[in-house]
């Protein structure tokens, strides 16, 4: 029964991980930008949710769409106003730009919110679902379900809408897409906006589960990296699998090797995959 509980813990965590990583993967896959800002955008979304709850009483789960919208706007403007200017440049330039933007955002958040850790304490707490041998923590369960819904929404958006197909087209062949009448800079901005939107939504979800501080962004960015490489760039299902695999691995790692090594496992696996299967578990060209 212990194993079942550990598996459930891992899946609940993994669902959230997928949501944390999917925006990062989208931006990396489509724009070829390693978005160092991603972690901080998650934290920004989490702070927005924190203040929405403490000041206005809006439940963080209900705040998810608003956080997404807010961050979409910020992401869209960032890409349209700044990052689009260096899109033709080598990947190191865009990386440096997002790195610099990240320093600015991080320090702005330290100034605005202080470096103290904060956490949303739901009142009343959601409690847990006691199924006898196993317990399901409700806030994690709901957050995981919402996270997976968000990931699915992105999947549908990319497959079934005009804008989604345009994003995939740009990812496959930018020049051909431009010839077909796709406004490439606009698609870039929309894609980056979507990435930020998912970061904001994920932030809103995690505000209920993890304490947040402007400096905790790096932890989430690290997870996003591992998941993208685990699952493979360029696919939403890949990110989902990557997130769930990482969550389950960390859980069982804690059980078998002790909590001290749970995070080590992820990086060992990352190295192994890079050596033997550099495309990740489900990686392919073109974003679907």
């Amino acid at each position: 029964m212990l194993y079942l509980q550990i598996l459930i813990n891992g899946l609940l965590l993994g669902g959230l991980y997928s949501c944390i990583a999917v925006g990062f993967s989208l931006v990396w896959g489509v724009l070829n930008i390693i978005n160092i800002l991603h972690g901080s955008l998650i934290i920004l979304g989490a702070y927005a949710a924190f203040f929405a709850y403490t000041e206005l009483g809006i439940h963080p789960f209900a705040f998810v769409p608003l956080a997404g919208l807010l961050l979409f706007t910020i992401g869209y403007l960032l890409q349209a106003g700044l990052i689009n200017r260096v899109m033709g440049a080598p990947v190191l330039i865009t990386l440096t730009l997002t790195f610099g933007l990240n320093l600015m955002l991080e320090n702005a958040m330290i100034l605005a919110f202080k470096a103290d850790y904060r956490t949303v304490i739901l009142n009343p707490p959601l409690g847990m679902l006691d199924l006898g041998p196993v317990v399901l923590v409700k806030d994690r369960l709901y957050a995981m379900v919402l996270a997976l819904v968000l990931v699915l929404l992105l999947y549908v958006l990319l497959r079934a809408t005009r804008i989604g197909r345009a994003i995939v087209a740009v990812r496959m062949d930018r020049d051909a897409a431009a010839l077909m009448g796709v406004n490439v800079p606009r698609i870039y901005a929309v894609t980056f906006g979507l990435g930020a939107c998912l970061a904001g939504a994920a932030g809103s979800l995690i505000s209920v589960i993890f304490p947040i501080s402007p400096l905790s962004s790096i932890g989430f960015l690290g997870k996003a990296f591992v998941i993208c490489i685990l699952g493979g760039l360029g696919s939403v299902p890949g990110v989902m699998v990557g997130g769930l695999v990482l969550g389950v691995l960390e859980s069982f790692g804690t059980l078998w090797l002790g909590p001290d090594y749970s995070t080590t496992i992820a990086f060992v696996l990352l190295l192994a995959l890079l050596l033997f299967r550099p495309t990740g578990l489900m990686g392919k060209r073109g974003f679907e």
Partner: protein, 402 residues
Amino acid sequence: MHPTRRTGLKQFLSVALLAALPASAALAQNPILIGAPLPLTGPLSPEGTKLQRGYDLWAEEVNKAGGVQVGKNKMPVKIIYYDYQSNTSRAVQLAEKLVTDDKVHFMFSPFGSGATKAASAVSERYGVPTIAPTASSVEVFDQGYKNLFGTMTPNDTLTEPMSDLVRATAPNVKRIAILARNDLYPLALGNEFEKSAKKRGFQVVYFEKYAIGTLDHASAITQIRATKPDWIIVTGYINDMILVRKQMADQGVKVPIMTMITGPSYREFIDASGPLATNVTTASWWHPAVRYTGNDVFKSSENFTKVFRAKYKEDPDYTNASGAVVGVVLQQAIESVATLDRDKVRAALASGKFQTFFAPIAFSPQGYATSYQPPIFQVQGGKPVVLFPKAIKQAEFAFGVN
């Protein structure tokens, strides 16, 4: 944020000033320089900021009184801060910079046992007497260094009385689970708890370490739950404690006794954990309830609390007080030898007995304090109350952490 640039500017200005003023006028204002690397940002920022408040309060009070009495002169103190961003290797670099670049006379150690030990190599190399406000692990003092002095008593002065108290008040408690942060002090403390517990016949059913920066403790907690402990002990820093306490509640963990060190003696833990903080026990080296008198600027524990409250509009906790007491001890050592000579001040620190508002401080040959007994607390009614020692006890031990 740019210490190098700022120092560059400072150096330029001081050179310009020296050129403009007659040399004697510049010398008369020379303050005693103390270097203090602190984690003002990053995961340890709550602790770093607390220490800084203690340092600042001491410096302000001393300077208000004219400064430190060095022979016939009164010299003001000036503390030079650098933020090492909770990154130990940066703390070491900055300690070196403070000695070689800023030419500080003395140093206060960075926060916590791990960073203190790392930076102590720097002060030893340059022979700078250094006082550590928050290093309680004896492992920090096992290198035979002559320049490092710690004002906290060793970890077993927390774990021994705590185990005695549990043994005496809760005879049914048998099974103990320990979850320790894999970091010098929290792990050393976890090991001490294991020793103290075994010595008294408790059964340690779970003992694991978690990595620094761990976000998810769910699986460790699932295991702890499965071992059905009567007493759960968690070691780490405030942020770890907030996280672990919440995730324990998420899984419906209920135990008669839960001890968390450090964390519950801080307002931040209680604010962030709300009702979950109730009945969590902890121990720390100082509390506004202790009653000591000293011949320092603060005069007594009560007066320190009053002065602190007037400046910061909140009650001091032990980290705030630890920041102030290192200043007090350094001042008394300097005043006793009436010079800033590092060798003489070091000798005064090593042999002195310092009556302070914090507690009586005297250092063992290894360099840590052994001269007082830290109190044990429990969070009751939203604030920490003292359970031990008896002389300052404020409440009875309450059981049941839900």
